[in-house]
Symmetry: C2
Subunit: 205 residues, 2 copies
C-alpha cells in the first residue's frame, strides 16, 4: 500500500519538498540537496523540472504569497457592517496563520530581495484601497467610529494578527516559559480578542 506521498507524481513531490525547505530556510539558507532528499529524488531531477534554484523558488514563493494574502478582497468590499468585516478579516487571517505559521517570516524576509514583484502581485489582487477608504469615511461621518485613516487601520489589524507568529520563539520562551500548548491556546483565543481590541479602539463611546 502506497503512502500518500508516494502517490504524488514527481513534479508534485518536488513542489511539496521545495515549499517545505524554502519556507523553513529561506532562499539563501535552502539547499537543493535537501529539497531533493525531501522529495526522494536526486538533484539532477530538480534541474530537469525547474532549470534553476531561482526558478523553483519563484514558483513556491508566489504560491505561498497568495496563500499568505488571504482572499479578503470580497470580504472588505462587501456590504457587511464594518465591525463584522473586522471580525471576518481577523478570523480569516488568523486561520490562515494557524495553517501556515512559518509563512510570514519567509514572506517578509524574501520581500527585501524583490519588493517590486510582490507589490505588483498585490496590485493585481483586486483589492482596492480607495474603495475601502471611502467606505470608512462614511462610517466616520455617521459617527460610528473615531476619525482614522484606512492605512492606519489596516496596518494595525495586520500587525496585531501577525506578530504572535513572527515573534513566537521569543514570546513563547519568555512569557510562556516554553509551554507550547499554552501558546497555541493563546493564539486561538486571539481570533476573538484581537477583533474586539480593534473595535474597542475605534468605536465611538
Amino acid at each position: 500500500m502506497m503512502s500518500e506521498k508516494e502517490q504524488l507524481n514527481t513534479e508534485q513531490k518536488i513542489l511539496e519538498a521545495a515549499k517545505k525547505v524554502f519556507i523553513d530556510k529561506g532562499f539563501d539558507g535552502a539547499r537543493m540537496q535537501q529539497i531533493a532528499d525531501e522529495a526522494g529524488i536526486n538533484k539532477a531531477l530538480l534541474h530537469y523540472y525547474y532549470r534553476s534554484k531561482e526558478k523553483l523558488f519563484d514558483t513556491i514563493f508566489f504560491d505561498a504569497f497568495n496563500q499568505f494574502m488571504p482572499k479578503i478582497g470580497e470580504l472588505m468590499m462587501s456590504d457587511l457592517p464594518l465591525f463584522d468585516k473586522i471580525r471576518g478579516f481577523v478570523g480569516h487571517y488568523i486561520d490562515t496563520l494557524i495553517a501556515f505559521p512559518h509563512l510570514p517570516v519567509f514572506v517578509l524576509y524574501e520581500l527585501k530581495r524583490r519588493p517590486e514583484k510582490i507589490v505588483d502581485q498585490l496590485k493585481n489582487s483586486g483589492i482596492k484601497p480607495r474603495v475601502i477608504s471611502q467606505f470608512l469615511k462614511k462610517e466616520i461621518e455617521n459617527g460610528t467610529i473615531i476619525n482614522i485613516e484606512f492605512s492606519s487601520l489596516i496596518v494595525n489589524m495586520i500587525g496585531l494578527c501577525l506578530f504572535p507568529y513572527v515573534g513566537r520563539p521569543i514570546i513563547e520562551g519568555f512569557l510562556f516559559d516554553g509551554d507550547k500548548e499554552a501558546y497555541d491556546l493563546f493564539l486561538e483565543k486571539r481570533k476573538v480578542l484581537v477583533a474586539e481590541f480593534i473595535i474597542n479602539a475605534i468605536k465611538k463611546n
Copy 2:
C-alpha cells in the same frame, strides 16, 4: 583630513561593516568579502580578528538584539500611571525603530536559527513579566481598564509598533504608491496614534 570612518581602528571598522552587511543580508546572505570591502580591508584580516563568520556574526547579533529590545525594563516597572507607561513604551520603541529600521526582520529571521540563546538574553534583561502582570491586575481591579492579560497587551503593543517596519516594502508600495516621504510621515505620526489606539482599546468607557 581624515574622514570619520578612517579614524576608526580596524576592529571598529570591521564591526561597523559587519553590522551593516549582516543586518541587510542576514547570516546566509552575507558575504565575508563584502564585509571586508565595506571595512576597507581584506578577508584574511576578518579571520584574524574573528576566527569565523559565525563568531563575527554572534558579536553583531547580540549587539543588535540589545538595541532592538529597548531598555524599557525600568520604564515598565516604574510607578508612572499605566497610560503614561504605554505612551513611553510606544514612543521609545518607535524611536528605536526609526533609528534602526532593518533590525526587526534581521532579528526575527535569525531568531529561527537559535531561539534558545535569544530567550536567555531576554531572561537576563531584568524585565520581570510577573511584576508588570501584577501591576496590570491592580489597574483592572481599580476599574481603569478592561480585563486583559499582560501577555496580550504587550504582544499587541509590539505588534502595532513593529509591523510598519517589517512590512514596509509592501505597505509603502501598495498603500502609498511608493511615496517614501509620505510613508516616513506616516511612521512618525504613529508614535502618537498607536499609543492612543491602545489606550482607547483598553480603557473603561
